[in-house]
């Protein structure tokens, strides 16, 4: 019993190790322990795999096109192979998230390596793919080993600001609410940082400020690269099994509200909800409106408008 209890210390260290977050003294202790401990090796492996699952599920922007060129230059490859069909890339993003241990165990055996005859890699791209690459031109395809001085400035954010950005970015993307404010003595400071960063993000991407019938501000509609989101700041939480919120765009020309998408508000805290996009673009949209809808079905017209705001020109 005390052995189990004693080991919980190593369980903690194993997770910290997998997170690459141990202090040097803890690391020393753990490395010594790890070699003889199957349980800890398993914990490390499981933690890494859980983290990989999270990483693979988060939004992944396309890296700059020059990156692959840089890599090929770095390995000194004589010539770049033809690019892979983009659809293959898309597909892999979906598939890599599937959970299937036995398949891995099977294929991971050394024996699996011997099936070299089965080199079935599809080389689907042809001249069209090459042309697309070349169109990028020399300006983007070069690696000069130096980035503009301004780039590294980002590293000079204060620690707390970096933390706030990360929490909010992750929070925003995954639909989390902006962190817990009750657990730390530094709560005001941390919350204030979050607020500042979030406000900055909102200010740069705000499309409309939403107000309710009393003229009270209840949130903002933001546009992040064509995707509209709602930053709720006072909309009451809806019951997620019996109702939903919907975001609508109204253009001066038609006057008819068009559905952007539905979203939920889980509580009154600040949080970004990604809703959707307006296929025809935002050019003619004059008003954004939020309605509360009974049921979970996609509404065709707003039932009860609870907030609205004019679109900034």
């Amino acid at each position: 019993m005390s052995a189990v209890r004693d080991h919980s210390r190593f369980d903690e260290l194993a997770v910290g190790w997998a997170l690459y977050a141990l202090e040097p003294d803890d690391e020393q202790v753990f490395v010594k322990h790890l070699t003889g401990c199957e349980r800890c090796r398993r914990t490390v492996r499981e933690t890494q795999e859980t983290l990989a699952t999270v990483t693979l599920a988060l939004p992944c922007p396309e890296p700059p096109a020059r990156l692959l060129d840089r890599i090929y230059e770095a390995i000194g490859a004589p010539a770049r192979p033809q690019p892979i069909e983009p659809s293959a890339v898309e597909q892999s993003t979906v598939e890599q998230s599937t959970v299937e241990q036995p398949a891995v165990e099977q294929s991971a055996r050394p024996g699996a390596y011997t099936s070299r005859a089965g080199d079935t890699a599809r080389r689907t791209s042809g001249p069209a793919g090459d042309a697309a690459r070349h169109r990028r031109g020399p300006a983007t395809g070069r690696r000069d080993g130096r980035r503009p001085a301004g780039r590294s400035l980002a590293r000079r954010l204060s620690q707390l600001a970096v933390a706030a950005v990360l929490v909010i970015v992750v929070g925003g993307l995954a639909g989390w609410n902006i962190v817990s404010r009750n657990n730390y003595q530094h709560q005001e400071q941390v919350a204030a940082q979050h607020q500042v960063v979030l406000n900055d993000l909102i200010a740069q991407s705000r499309v409309a400020t939403l107000t309710d019938h009393h003229g009270k501000r209840v949130g903002d509609v933001v546009n992040q690269n064509g995707t509209l989101g709602v930053v709720s700041d006072g909309l009451p939480a809806n019951n997620r099994s019996t109702s939903t919120y919907a975001l609508w765009s109204v253009s001066a020309a038609s006057g008819t509200p068009r559905l952007v998408g539905t979203f939920d508000v889980t509580n009154a805290d600040l949080g970004v909800r990604t809703v959707g996009s307006v296929p025809s673009g935002m050019d003619h949209v004059t008003t954004m409106a939020v309605s509360k809808e009974p049921g979970r079905a996609t509404p065709t017209r707003p039932t009860t408008i609870v907030a609205s705001g004019a679109v900034r020109s």
């Binding site: 369980d11 903690e12 997770v15 997170l19 690459y20 977050a21 141990l22 202090e23 795999e49 983290l51 999270v54 990483t55 599920a57 939004p59 922007p61 890296p63 990156l67 890599i71 770095a74 390995i75 490859a77 892979i84 293959a88 898309e90 597909q91 979906v94 998230s97 599937t98 959970v99 299937e100 294929s107 991971a108 055996r109 699996a112 099936s115 070299r116 080199d119 079935t120 890699a121 599809r122 400035l153 590293r155 600001a161 970096v162 990360l166 929490v167 909010i168 992750v170 925003g172 993307l173 995954a174 989390w176 817990s180 657990n183 730390y184 941390v190 960063v197 993000l201 990604t274 996009s277």
Partner: protein, 205 residues
């Protein structure tokens, strides 16, 4: 136990097979690994370093290391994706920690412009395609079930590159509590992902 064990096949070529081809020096295998994993690798590096330039450097280093030492991947120790991403994570965190010591010598003006740079909307760019996917929903749901302090401790360590002691100091929490939060949070996350894995719809609500 099956949590996060990445399925090793994409179409009909397994990761293990690609690794073997890398060991043999097949450039096309590198191209394929890139097609599969450059996006998440770059996204992770960028999230940690908050800097496109550093993120590119990290991904380049990792692919170079992969090309030179693909046989260092040991399938017995876990899936290829988690191995590759943990390399990306380590190097990104190393970059952040290296820069952190430089940071103190910099002047305030630089910090301010840095803040401006870091707050461009691209930072919060949303990839709806991925978000809407099953796995995104599943992971989001699992993360949401974590108590905020656990989620924050894990986030600060993994995406922020902070050590346990730094997390303790940032959140003004005893070090022991932070360690426990990370362990408990990780266990819970894993259990949740695991239980969800059997729900074909993967829809929490």
């Amino acid at each position: 136990m099956a949590v996060a064990r990445q399925k090793a096949t994409h179409g009909d070529v397994t990761d293990a097979h690609l690794v073997q081809r890398l060991v043999e020096g097949d450039h096309r295998a590198l191209d394929e690994v890139y097609a599969r994993y450059a996006r998440p690798a770059f996204a992770l590096a960028r999230r940690i370093t908050v800097d496109d330039g550093f993120a590119e450097d990290v991904v380049q280093e990792v692919f170079l290391a992969l090309w030179r030492d693909a046989d260092r991947y040991d399938a017995a120790k876990g899936g290829f994706a988690s191995w590759l991403l943990s390399m990306v994570h380590h190097r990104s965190v190393d970059a952040v920690r290296r820069e952190e010591s430089m940071r103190r010598r910099r002047d305030k003006a630089a910090e301010e412009s840095a803040a401006e740079f870091a707050l461009t909307p691209e930072v919060a760019a949303v990839d709806n395609q991925v978000l809407s996917r099953l796995q995104g929903e599943r992971v989001r749901g699992a993360l949401q079930t974590l108590p905020a302090p656990q989620r924050e401790a894990l986030t600060l360590a993994y995406f922020g590159g902070y050590t346990q002691r730094e997390v303790a100091s940032l959140t003004d929490t005893p070090l022991g509590t932070v360690k426990t939060r990370m362990l408990t949070g990780m266990r819970r996350l894993r259990e949740r992902l695991q239980s969800d894995a059997f729900d074909p719809a993967g829809d929490p609500s």
